[in-house]
Symmetry: D2
Subunit: 139 residues, 4 copies
């Protein structure tokens, strides 16, 4: 496992009157990507939150290269880009296998908060799991 790949199909309400997927929808798909990366690494984000950890987004960016259409089947490729003491970064690429186009790339940076919502170190158990998670350039 180097790059996590998650399928997603464009939903009707994710489109706007321009006839294509709204640019904000891609942030939601990025989220699906990192959720599945964590699940594949062995710990679901839901479990992490139930144990008192949160990974709020502190920075997000996206570059849009082509339109995604209603009902398109897309793939979200996600990698763990950086893992610091109290921060994580994920990188994303969204492609449409039907024509091989890359529709967007992006990146999110996350803080680590504990149950009192204070900055915290990433738990060692999570860190260990993520050491084995997808990294850039190894896909």
């Amino acid at each position: 496992m180097r790059v996590s790949r998650t399928g997603v199909r464009v939903r009707y309400p994710e489109t706007d009157r321009m006839g294509v997927a709204y640019h904000g929808s891609f942030l939601v798909w990025f989220e699906l990507g990192r959720t599945e990366l964590l699940r594949e690494a062995g710990r679901s984000y839901r479990e992490m939150e139930e144990e008192g950890w949160m990974l709020p987004v502190v920075e997000a960016q996206a570059r849009y290269l082509g339109p995604a259409l209603y009902d398109d089947e897309l793939v979200v490729e996600t990698v763990l880009e950086e893992m610091g003491r109290a921060q994580l970064s994920f990188g994303y690429r969204i492609t449409r296998p039907a024509d091989g186009r890359t529709l967007a790339t992006g990146r999110t940076r996350h803080a680590v908060l504990d149950a009192r919502r204070r900055p915290a170190r990433l738990p060692d158990a999570v860190r260990a799991l993520l050491e084995g998670a997808p990294r850039p350039g190894e896909g």
Copy 2:
């Protein structure tokens, strides 16, 4: 005060590729309507939640009579339809003043839950405030 009136402008992501507002967007506007009704009655819904009460939707219905377009200025008219021991119902009408059309009508029914998320009686203070709130047929 009989009918609560709230203005709302259609946002770009609230539209879909049919070129009009997505039908689910109207539920969000209904919510804005009852939020403002409660605020006008003297108690914001945020305050109610902070005091431990929740009013989850247990039933929702909407009838769509005409399309709402991007950037349209709409008005949400909201009335308190029923107030039972442990339930509330609100009625809604969404109009577009520019042409006087009614675009949708609807209704939501709400349970009352306490801080432990158990069914509860509506607090007397809230009940008293709502006694003075908008009712159908008095608008």
Copy 3:
């Protein structure tokens, strides 16, 4: 094929600060259900729109029986309830297989519009396909 069944996992942005899925999210899942019913019947809704037909929602209702939580795996069961000359109705039930609970039921009614957005009869080809589609009580 009698009842169309579609899996859906609750996404983070579909939840709200009550800690459960927002009630409007269920309308989106209903839509996924009827989209898959149409696809199973042999005609995707995207194809229908490309051929100039639209099925806008003219009425929607939902009854909420229990909360859906983040990351829950749900199933949307969809049936074709009625097929008139120029209208269709679908019925929905959303369940959580993990505990067998039904979380919501609902119904949407749809007009049939042609490429000029005027009320139209449902195309015979679509009608024929839907004759074989899921009906209530046959699931």
Copy 4:
């Protein structure tokens, strides 16, 4: 007019189970900001689209500095950062006047497309209007 200021109140469905506004909601608020900037400059984005021009987002970024809560009253400050031959960039700052905190900053870059969805030069009339629009450092 140097900086365009638009008020927005956090809606219930814009929050998530973390109890704060979902990070994607800020992109929607950025959009409200640039929509109002264009309106103040003398041309609504709806009019621009009706005349055949589109300004799709080709790049978006946001930095999150603090949580926005349900029902918070926020202000979106928007400036025109760059205006090239066939591109525009807007910068954003979202503040909460109640405590003076800046909750997020961001930037979007937009292509200019004509009615056939091909890259185009920004119409001179729009360019002239925007020459008078808010710029960074002049607020």
